[in-house]
Amino acid sequence: MAIFNFQKASLSPAPFARGYREENPLIRRILIALSLIFTLLILVMPLLVVISQAFGTGWDNFWKAVTNIFTLKALYLSLITTFSAVTANTVFGLAAAWALSRYNFKGQGFLITMIDLPFAISPIIAGLIFILTYGRLGWMNSFLQEHQIKIVFATPGLIMATIFVTIPFVARELIPVLVARGSDEEQAAVLMGAGFLTIFWRVTLPHIKWALIYSVILCAARAMGEFGAVSVVSGHLRGKTNTLPLHIEILYNEHHYNDAFAVSAILVITSVVILTARSVVEHISKREERSNVR
């Protein structure tokens, strides 16, 4: 039975054991107030400001900003980048999680550490290493020139930088699930003569599908909003290498505050949709799990 790590934390508090003395109510109130104020100041208020600024000069202006040709091109580029990065990371994440949980091999620890690296490394480094490797002064340059391949300051560079930053999302979610479950069922399937693909589709995938969907959703959210690494490899060519977050910065620097906030609102709304999707996935997977138990 699959247990994902996000399900371990249930929102309803565990009741105190009988005889346990109630905590000081003052401390309780202070803690609740602190968390609420913190959330309000850091998250809710700034987001409300974004939305209100976005519509600050009326619906018509909002619509004009959002349907501007450069905004649409930036949105399109962000979608391509996100889609490619999520696809690549899903394939890689499945492969890595499978390998790490099924086989014992040298360099296992190394692989896990490497997968975690993007969480720890600053995005500007992520961008610069691509410039230094694939840029005009990079060591791959003569090969790339010969074959007329453009990586940095073009869409491939944006995709690679985004993949780099979002690598951990799928793999890190799947590894614990696969490790916790062990490989007994797969071994049984092998004994019964099932091929690799059959085992994957009919034995493994059904167990990890919710964790997979969940991680893909988070990965997409992060990829869509990626700014730092992409900013370094972009070259900021309008309508060519400008993703939505980069476009927002440009609008802001051009004194088009309301347009910047209008386009920000697209990203904020996307995040809300993605978070809603995540809750729905959590809800369905829990219900399915309960019915499995019965």
Binding site: L79, K209, I213, G235, H236, L237, N253, H255
Partner: protein, 333 residues
């Protein structure tokens, strides 16, 4: 549920990759921060001009950022057909990387600068601290806003303009000049890394009494905040010449030399010059400049970077702004 998830992803893929691709002739202009509005208008004009002359549609792709950063991206492989930057030294860096042939600055008139600008003072409406000339910046109780000369092109012009005034005022006595410059930087409240950052500090956040600004940025702020600010043009200032150049290696690779050359030449046409004037850049054509006397105070004395006082960008850069240079000595106190 899982199957429908997969079909949603497939549909997304279809939408993403099936979108139409435009295939006009393309020209990439890598420029610096304050020229965004100027080139938006100029590009539209040039597109019409090229369509009329060659019966060919052309799309101009714009890129803006700090001048030094933009030069860096071209050196690293951002394949700009033309660069239109803040300082000649940034284009020289691209030349040193082997992408632009030497002698580029004499290929076009006026040191390859189709428009010029200068440094002026932006003050609060009514000029409450009565700031008129460079000497006033060193007075006690004056809050000065300028970007950092180590990172900003505009800030270097600010510094050199102050230096030029002091050189005359103190009769070439370098000790006295340095003392004055130190006093000015002691009065600096916020040292942002770029010109737009300083403008925001002064205009949006209301910090300081005077902003040392590009003339064109100052006029943009005036238009943004009518009635709150005013411009003071000091009797002497510096002539800033933002140059333009064709990036030889890239245009030859892409076969866009003719288009790129015409794009820069058209900046010198009457139409190009008027567009520059409308965006508060001083047109290099003196006849067209006269049409804009309502903005530009023409009788101010402008010193160039090639004046013996500075001896060109390479020398000024090394003497004033390199590590351990005069600015470092002043600012580390």
């Amino acid at each position: 549920m899982f199957k429908s998830f997969i079909s949603v992803m497939a549909l997304a893929a279809l939408l993403v990759f099936a979108a139409p691709v435009l295939a006009d002739r393309e020209l990439i202009n890598v420029s610096y921060d304050p020229t965004r509005e100027l080139y938006e208008v100029y590009n539209a004009a040039f597109q019409k001009h090229w369509l009329k002359e060659k019966n060919e549609k052309v799309t101009v792709v714009q890129s803006h950022g700090g001048s030094g950063k933009q030069a860096r991206s071209v050196i690293e492989g951002n394949e700009a057909d033309v660069v239109t930057l803040a300082l000649a030294i940034d284009i020289t860096a691209i030349e040193d990387a082997g992408l632009i042939k030497s002698g580029w600055q004499s290929r076009l008139p006026n040191n390859s600068s189709p428009y010029t600008s200068t440094i002026v003072f932006l003050v609060r409406s009514g000029n409450p601290k009565n700031i008129k000339d460079w000497g006033d910046l060193a007075k006690d109780g004056i809050g000065v806003i300028t970007p950092n000369p180590k990172t900003s092109g505009g800030a270097r012009w600010n510094y050199l303009a102050a230096w030029a005034w002091a050189d005359k005022e103190y009769n070439h006595d370098e000790k006295a000049i340095i003392k004055y410059i130190k006093k000015v930087f002691d009065n600096v409240l916020v040292l942002d890394s770029g010109a737009r950052g300083s403008t925001n500090t002064f205009v949006q956040n209301g910090q300081g009494d005077v902003l040392l600004a590009w003339e064109n940025e100052a006029y943009l702020s005036l238009a943004e905040r009518p009635g709150e600010l005013e411009i003071v043009t000091p009797p002497t200032s510096i002539l800033a010449e933002p140059p333009v150049a064709v990036v030889d290696v890239y245009v030859d690779k892409k076969g866009t030399r003719e288009l790129a050359t015409e794009y820069l030449k058209y900046l010198y046409s009457d139409e190009g010059q008027r567009i520059a004037g409308n965006h508060y850049y001083r047109p290099s054509n003196p006849e067209i400049l006269k049409e804009f006397t309502k903005y530009f105070y023409l009788s101010l004395k402008l010193i160039t970077i090639d004046d013996p006082l500075f001896g060109g960008w390479a020398k000024a850069q090394k003497y004033h702004f390199s590590d351990g240079g005069i600015f470092d000595q002043i600012y580390t106190k």
